[in-house]
């Protein structure tokens, strides 16, 4: 009983971790399934077919391609715009600062269905047809705030004495920014860009409001497939995304902790 009490936090923590990871493991396991018919819900037999031919289901790889394209353009644009805003908020006092903070916060506090539908009413009112461009506009809009918040947090945690030290060593403001501030903020910018990309790549609700039948992103493809049975290839792509994310974030964490240890 006392053992249980002493380890309660650990046990509950590990159980919740299992809850978080279980669906990912199921997706991975069922990517090796060979389903009878279209439904990949019950286990039939082990097969590598889907892994060897990930594009074998019509439309799947072009939807992944479109999502990648939109994700890259949207996250790059949102990162540039958001980083500029973050520097303005983190490094300057100016009139309208509080209002700007509210405006940045609002898109994060608005449900996706409201944002998607309000953009759609604008496009309808303007008579603009929906498609790739409107998806991009929407994605840049909702990624922007997340980039600002991520980069701003990094700027806030910087020691202002570092820039002062650079100035004392005769660096011009431009040199101090380029050689001292920017490298220190860079991890925040990278994190913001990564977050923006994953938000864009994964979004269904806003995209669905602002897409056309010819612009099918990967989440829209899955949604459509869910009505008639999801092909195993979807599990393969989901697993690749998961493993790539674990590897990517894992390597980043290792590098960061390695650098910390080297410094200590």
């Amino acid at each position: 009983m006392s053992w249980l009490r002493r380890h309660a936090v650990r046990i509950v923590g590990l159980l919740v971790m299992a809850y978080i990871l279980l669906p990912n493991l199921v997706v991975l396991a069922y990517s090796f399934n060979k389903p009878k018919g279209r439904l990949n819900i019950t286990w039939q037999e082990f097969s590598l077919d889907a892994w060897l031919n990930p594009c074998n289901s019509p439309g799947i790889c072009s939807s992944v391609g479109l999502s990648l394209k939109i994700g890259i353009i949207a996250s790059l644009t949102a990162t540039v715009l958001g980083t500029l805003v973050a520097f303005a908020l983190g490094r300057h006092r100016f009139r309208g600062r509080a209002g700007t903070n509210v405006l940045i916060f609002m898109p994060m506090a608005t449900p996706e269905v409201v944002m998607g539908s309000s953009l759609l009413t604008l496009f309808i009112a303007l008579g603009v047809g929906t498609g790739q461009t409107t998806i991009l506009i929407a994605h840049i809009m909702f990624c922007l705030s997340f980039v600002v918040v991520t980069v701003k947090a990094r700027i806030a945690s910087l020691d202002p004495r570092l820039e002062e030290a650079a100035a004392d060593l005769y660096a011009s403001p431009a040199q101090a920014f380029r050689r001292v501030t920017l490298p220190l903020v860079a991890p925040g910018i990278a994190a913001g860009a990564l977050l923006a990309f994953s938000l864009s790549f994964d979004d269904y609700i806003i995209t669905n409001f602002n897409a056309s039948p010819s612009s099918v992103t990967f989440p829209m493809y899955i949604w459509g497939a869910a009505q008639r049975g999801v092909p195993v290839q979807v599990n393969v792509i989901g697993s690749v995304l998961f493993l790539a994310a674990v590897a990517f974030v894992g390597i980043g964490q290792l590098l960061a902790s390695g650098r910390q240890r080297a410094r200590a």
Binding site: L22, A88, A109, E112, T121, E164, I222
Partner: protein
């Protein structure tokens, strides 16, 4: 989120060229004004218009749309708030121990666990929700596993319990309110864990020791010391969970039934299938207004009664 994280040290030197911040802000803010503020105005305007898709719309300040919309769809609206509220409570109950575990009890595993909490962000929300169909379905993974462990009676007992508390039908888990709330809880858990973790990690554990030196039991040390200090994280996490969960309909479509329709589903189909734009816009505006009211009241209460 909270302004504590944003506490910027005021710049030492007064910035002389005052146009610099505005130049930095301009492109980003212009984007938000044109594609967030203007559409919101457009949404409100659309909700007060009359007309149809083919003959166009005119602004007639027709408030009747709101009366009709709320009169017909208040159950879905209410259900969305209840499901999102339940999911928020569950994410807090699950997320708090997890955040505490990662922050203070995981030792060298800390970074690995953080990665595993964040990694699902990068995997598709939809694919993982579909995986719950495989897990919860009749003849699915959960039932098979329980059968193999001779624990089917436990599962059926749980299903009957869900039927008793009106969260299920009594003979299945999938396509019930239970599945929808479990899916929402699952999908929004990282949104709760990350702000909580950021907050709990900075807590000074010596405060707990000090409390117990002053004869506090672990329970009262938690209630009087730890919980008040972690409130900023709790408020941030609950908002980040509750707001998107209220508008979400992926979970209710994939894991629920016609009995679990949430308001996002109604807005989606009125906009994209029925093409009743004023009604759909009115529902969107009503949802937003409800959330703003809820959040304002909640932040006030959390801010005055607990934080002081």
């Amino acid at each position: 989120m909270s302004d504590a994280a944003v506490a910027v040290p005021p710049p030492r030197r007064r910035v002389r060229r005052n146009w610099v911040p505005y130049a930095l802000l301009a492109p980003g803010l212009l984007w938000l004004v044109v594609f967030f503020v203007v559409p919101t105005v457009s949404l409100v305007s659309q909700s007060l218009q009359t007309g149809d898709v083919f003959n166009g719309y005119t602004l007639t300040w027709n408030v009747q749309t709101y009366v009709d919309a709320l009169g017909t769809y208040w159950p879905q609206l209410l259900r969305s708030l209840v499901y999102a509220g339940l999911a928020t409570v569950f994410t807090l109950l699950l997320g708090y121990p997890l955040a505490w575990f990662i922050a203070h009890r995981s030792g060298r595993l800390k970074n690995v666990l953080l990665v595993l909490v964040i990694a699902p962000f990068f995997t598709s929300f939809l694919i993982r929700t579909l995986a719950w169909q495989t897990i919860l379905g009749n003849g699915g993974l959960l039932e098979t596993t329980m059968g193999a462990l001779h624990l089917t009676w436990l599962l059926h007992g749980f299903e009957s319990f869900l039927g008793l508390v009106n969260l299920g039908t009594g003979n299945q888990l999938l396509y019930t309110p239970f599945a929808v709330v479990a899916g929402l809880t699952y999908n929004f858990l990282p949104f709760m864990v990350l702000p909580l973790y950021a907050n709990i990690e900075r807590l000074d554990l010596r405060l707990v020791e000090a409390a117990s030196d002053l004869y506090a039991t672990p329970a009262s040390a938690f209630r009087r010391v730890i919980w008040p200090l972690s409130l900023p994280g709790v408020v941030a996490g609950t908002l980040l969970t509750f707001i998107p969960a209220t508008g979400d309909y992926i979970n209710s479509v994939l894991l629920g039934s016609t009995q679990t329709v949430m308001i996002g589903q109604v807005i989606d189909s009125q906009f994209l299938r029925v093409l009743n734009y004023p009604l759909a816009a009115a529902l969107s505006v009503a949802l937003m207004a409800l959330i703003i009211t809820f959040v304002t009241v909640y932040v006030r209460r959390a801010g005055t009664e607990e934080l002081v």
